[in-house]
Symmetry: C2
Subunit: 198 residues, 2 copies
DNA sequence: CAATATTTTGATTGTGCAATCAATATTTTA
DNA sequence: TAAAATATTGATTGCACAATCAAAATATTG
């Protein structure tokens, strides 16, 4: 049977509460007590469903990464050509940030604080080749495909422009002020990137 | 007299130890006990020179921001034209990251965890116009100057490309793995950015 | 050198937290 | 419906920490 419905529902409820609490008080001040209170549940229940605090945080991280990847790759697969896929990728990333702001904040809080078994922070983890962020991989594939199909120039280095694009997207995540227009940034960023790759 | 030499030296020593400890254990696990131990000093001494833990963290943040700004603007002012200034800016940012890796890690740890008086995290702070990051301002000025002098195209939006450039620089900060070449990235990034602005 | 000011120590106090667990409630199974 | 399995509670324990402070050491001054 593996997993009861109740257990699965509770787990998701607690993960949601973890996300809410992370967004509200930040990683340094997040506690099982606060998460439990927000979920209207006892602290012991969290320990019952998760082996410890880190297990909850790690599961929340996986949950957030999956949601984001699903949304973005869902948009990209609807497109045919590398150019429209690249455009869809950028649009989807920015759209997700706007529509799921809370999720992105929770993701940042975790990514910049959680560390792996060896005590190395996630954001400093030197994954090398394997175990790479699937969102990153998706972008790389679009660019490689575009070069192979001669739709993109082969003057640029895929690895390098990936870093630029990801950085340009993530930087805007932190620009949630009244004067900054995501709509405008979306258009400008697409224009700038296409100027490089075409 | 204001400040004794001993007090000033101690403060700097403790700030250095704070940076080292942040790099080693990360923000969530940094404690006055660990900082004191690393500085080979008693915990009480930190309390004597800093009003509390947050005071030490804030002073460390100011120290790190100042060092970085000094280095970058020092390189930029040596150049004459907007193009060479922009190139120098990118080169300086990347060079600083490589040469002062520890400082950048400490900076990230603080920026993504510390919050202002109202409890709003630094990285989410909506500074609007005033109180902007001087490094950001420097970049903006180079780009505006370049447009005014007709050395750069006026087809792009300064605010937008600033976000792109900063993001592209900061993203590479996290790419400290063997396969990633900063030298190559530096050249490629300059090429890509110039393609947009010229 | 003596008096005063500054610097430094380390033990102590109080707080918030993660994790545990026995007791209780609820659901599932036969 | 009775027995067994699962889910939930909240009080308790023990730990790590920030902050405090009286005492001691060191430096400065006249």
């Amino acid at each position: 049977m593996g997993e009861s419905f109740i257990a699965e529902a509770r787990r998701e409820q607690i993960i949601q509460s973890c996300i809410d609490t992370l967004e509200e008080v930040g990683y340094t001040k997040v506690s099982l007590t606060k998460i439990a209170k927000k979920a209207k549940v006892s602290t012991g229940l969290i320990s019952y469903h998760f082996s410890d605090k880190m297990d909850l945080i790690n599961q929340t991280l996986l949950y957030l990464l999956e949601k984001k990847l699903d949304f973005i790759s869902g948009k990209v697969v609807q497109e045919e050509t590398p150019t429209s896929q690249l455009t869809a990728y950028i649009e989807a990333c920015l759209a997700y940030q706007v529509a799921n702001f809370k999720y992105n904040i929770a993701l940042i809080e975790i990514v910049f604080n959680v560390e792996n078994e060896e005590g190395i922070p996630f954001y400093r983890a030197d994954n090398g080749e394997e175990d790479e962020d699937p969102i990153y991989t998706l972008l790389k594939e679009i660019l490689l495909d575009g070069q192979q199909k001669k739709e993109f120039s082969n003057q640029f280095d895929v690895e390098m422009i990936c870093v630029l694009i990801q950085g340009a997207i993530e930087e805007s995540m932190l620009k949630h002020n009244k004067t900054f227009s995501f709509e405008k940034y979306k258009n400008e960023l697409i224009k700038m990137v296409l100027k490089i790759v075409i």
